[in-house]
């Protein structure tokens, strides 16, 4: 208070002494953190670089051999490709969603509650999140929410078939058509009867009170009559192709008569499995069972199959991290001076223009931080991919960090290659780090 000379005005000797003391104190402040970082983070990097130049056993020096393997191994290439997809899609998606949520929650009173809900996944461990999504993406519509919703929606718009999976007893006499139905090879004449035994009828598709199959009645001159029944006796026994007492009729099957390539008659079997095709002209008649009888029910999408697994896992990632982006951006939003927005509005700009020309530019620093943090995060992604991808899609979902784990711990125990992958990953993340540094430098100015 007494020496109020602006610009630090102590005499030079004292200033120098102070500077020395300051420096010594600075080292003291830095020492604990520095020591820990040196020993546990910096040294492992050096060690990894060193180790990556050796082979599996750690004895033989192979120079850049491991790095060569990285570039020639198709698994690593897939991993690299996937990381690229991750980097291009996930951070952008997370940031955009975070921005949208942040902006929208400003307008509602219960914004905080919403933020808490969307942020909550961050408090859940990666293991739990992985399990949650394994269950959500379960292929079976009876178990996985995603497919349950999709199949329900699909079934609203389309009807299901009567006997999915059923087929004629004799595949040679009545082979499948391209459309999924079946057509008889031999033709018959009007006035004859035909037996159509089916197998592969699931128990659940039979009527609640199935009736015994009946042999067809005599056909009039312009008719073809027949029976469609389930040609299988429970417990075995029974003669294939013949109507046994124990076998059940199949009602509701559509049968068509085809002459000269055109459908001339159509009938549906009744409760005894009998049908009558009428109004047939003389000539060869081919009997067909259209595909609509047998179409398999829609079973949903294979979320965790090789083609969709990476997008599916990215979805899980977004679920976890959108809240993080939202909170950060929301905080940034709160810092924007209201008057700038108000002035713009008063000048006649609509909401979109305000958003686009004022809000977003002012948010640029926060958006950049979020984006860069996400990019770094995503390049290192391990837990989610490791837990969610099933073994059959492991290759398709592979990312570098998982490949590194698989190579080091997962079997081959090749720490040379694993270290090389680690170094490689580090090099990949370097641009993001340099960007961070550049920002820091700019701030200094």
């Amino acid at each position: 208070m007494t020496e109020a000379r602006p610009g630090g005005g102590a005499p030079p000797a004292r200033a120098a002494a102070r500077a020395r003391e300051g420096r010594w104190l600075a080292w003291l402040f830095l020492a604990p953190a520095g020591l820990v970082l040196l020993a546990l983070v910096l040294w492992p990097i050096v060690y990894s670089i060193w180790r990556s130049l050796f082979d599996r056993s750690g004895q033989a020096f192979i120079g850049l051999g491991n790095y060569q393997r990285i570039f020639t191994d198709p698994d690593t290439f897939t991993a690299l490709k996937n990381n690229l997809i991750w980097v291009l899609v996930a951070p952008a998606l997370v940031t955009v969603l975070g921005l949208i949520f942040a902006v929208l929650t400003e307008r509602v009173r219960w914004g905080t509650a919403f933020k808490l809900i969307v942020f909550m996944p961050m408090a859940i461990s990666f293991l739990a999140a992985g399990i949650i999504f394994r269950v959500v993406y379960d292929q079976d519509p009876a178990k996985g929410v995603a497919n349950a919703i999709i199949t329900s929606v699909h079934d609203v718009f389309s009807s299901s078939s009567q006997y999915p999976g059923a087929r004629p007893r004799d595949a040679d006499a009545m082979p499948a058509t391209d459309a999924g139905g079946f057509a008889s090879v031999e033709t018959i004449q009007p006035g004859s009867t035909i037996l159509l035994p089916l197998v592969g009828v699931e128990a659940g598709t039979l009527p609640d009170e199935p009736q015994a199959a009946q042999p067809p009645a005599e056909a009039a001159g312009d008719q073809v009559t027949g029976t469609v029944w389930f040609d299988f006796t429970r417990g075995g026994g029974g003669v294939p192709g013949e109507i046994d007492d124990t076998e059940f009729a199949l009602p509701g099957v559509t049968v068509q008569a085809v002459q000269d390539g055109e459908v001339v008659a159509e009938a549906t079997t009744d409760d005894q499995g009998l049908f009558v095709l009428e109004g047939l002209d003389p000539g060869d008649v081919q009997i067909t069972l259209p595909a609509g009888n047998f179409a398999q029910p829609f079973r949903g999408v294979s979320w965790l199959g090789p083609s969709l697994v990476t997008p599916a896992i990215i979805g899980a990632y977004v679920w976890m991290w959108a809240g993080f982006a939202m909170v950060l951006i929301g905080a940034g939003l709160a810092a924007i001076p209201r008057d700038a927005l108000e002035a713009a509005r008063i000048d006649g700009a609509n909401e979109w223009q305000v958003f686009r020309h004022i809000t977003v530019p002012l948010l640029a620093p926060v958006l950049t931080v979020v984006l860069v943090t996400m990019i770094i995060n995503v390049l290192k992604i391990f837990d989610l991919v490791y837990i969610i991808a099933p073994g059959s899609s492991a290759q398709a979902a592979n990312v570098i960090a998982v490949q590194m784990w698989a190579v080091s711990f997962g079997g081959a125990q090749d720490f040379g290659l694993g270290s090389a992958l680690g170094v490689f990953l580090f090099l990949l993340v370097l641009p993001a780090m340099l960007f961070n540094i550049r920002r820091f430098r700019q701030e200094q100015q």
Partner: protein
């Protein structure tokens, strides 16, 4: 400010505007579309949209919660939503089993004994270092900070083997200390980054004034910087707490069975060949309680602090 208004507006605009009413005059092709959407977004619509999003966001977690209330047999037989229509299925047996398990209770305490020190240590070490970076002068300051920021990108796997060897030599491999130290090391880069940014934002005048009062660096640190830095420190604390509490990889490698935290102990509960949803879901929710409590109670510091550290 007027330079910003309606870039390219063709027609004069009436002085009193309702910002939420749809604009009818085309300004530029794309903006019409955008402005129509934002105009349409009245409070009610926004609320509905957000409500839908909130429900969608909650569904996965809710599903896991219901799964934890069903037996293993029920979980493999049908999806969790079936329990909503047959509430008789719900049972708290899974929770009872897990809580009765001594190993789990032990693991819970291990988790606390690992997470709290790891968080406190990171806060203390990073505060000291960040203050030095923000307000003290020493040679190589910039480069050192760059190196530390650079360490943000190092993946944990890189360090597992060498550090395991190091800890083995030190004789601490397998203990809680080894887990704590590892977490501290990997939490420091982000902590230093965050806190340094915040500390640098403290008004210089306050520090100058304290210096002129004769305070030394240490006193300034303790009585000026730390109190002011509380929001950033609190938010750092939350991040670090969450990360360490939920970690499994590091604990799996470095902790032996007596030091194992919840995440690892849960793994050991899993049947070797089962689908284990009942065990893992229950464990996940039991494990979730503490982080959520921490999160909710510190939430207000969190927003402030994160803002301060990043927008800087």
């Amino acid at each position: 400010m007027s330079a910003v208004t309606g870039g390219g507006a063709a027609a004069p605009v009436p002085p009193t505007v309702d910002p939420e009413a749809p604009r009818s005059q085309p300004v530029r092709g794309r903006e019409t579309w955008g402005s129509r959407i934002t105009g349409f977004l009245s409070k009610g619509v926004v609320s509905v949209v957000l409500a839908l999003v909130a429900v969608f966001w909650l569904v996965p977690t809710f599903g896991l919660f219901i799964a934890s209330l069903r037996s293993a047999q029920d979980n493999t037989a049908s999806g969790w939503w079936n329990a909503l229509t047959t509430p008789a299925q719900l049972t708290i047996q899974n929770y009872r089993d897990l809580l009765a398990n001594e190993g789990m209770v032990n693991a819970f305490f291990n988790t606390v004994w690992i997470t709290v020190p790891a968080t406190l240590l990171v806060v203390v070490l990073a505060s000291l270092a960040s203050y030095a970076f923000a307000w003290m002068d020493f040679p190589g300051k910039d480069w050192l900070f760059i190196v530390i920021v650079g360490l943000l990108v190092v993946p944990v796997q890189v360090a597992l083997i060498p550090v395991a060897g190091l800890f083995g030599d030190l004789g601490i491999y397998g203990s809680r200390i080894s887990v704590i130290l590892f977490h501290v090391a990997f939490g420091l880069p982000f902590a230093v980054f965050l806190l340094r940014n915040f500390f640098a934002g403290i008004p210089k005048e306050l520090l100058e004034a304290a210096r002129m009062d004769g305070a030394g660096e240490w006193r300034i640190f303790r009585s000026v910087v730390m109190p002011l830095g509380l929001p950033a420190i609190a938010s750092l604390g939350i991040f670090q707490f969450l990360w360490v509490w939920n970690d499994m990889l590091v604990a799996l490698v470095f902790a032996d069975s007596s030091a194992a935290p919840l995440t690892v102990a849960l793994q050991s509960q899993a049947r070797q060949f089962g689908s284990n949803i009942d065990v893992l879901a229950t464990g996940a929710f039991l494990s979730l309680v503490v982080p959520l409590v921490v999160f909710f109670s510190f939430q207000r510091y969190f927003e402030q602090g994160v803002l301060a550290g990043s927008v800087k």
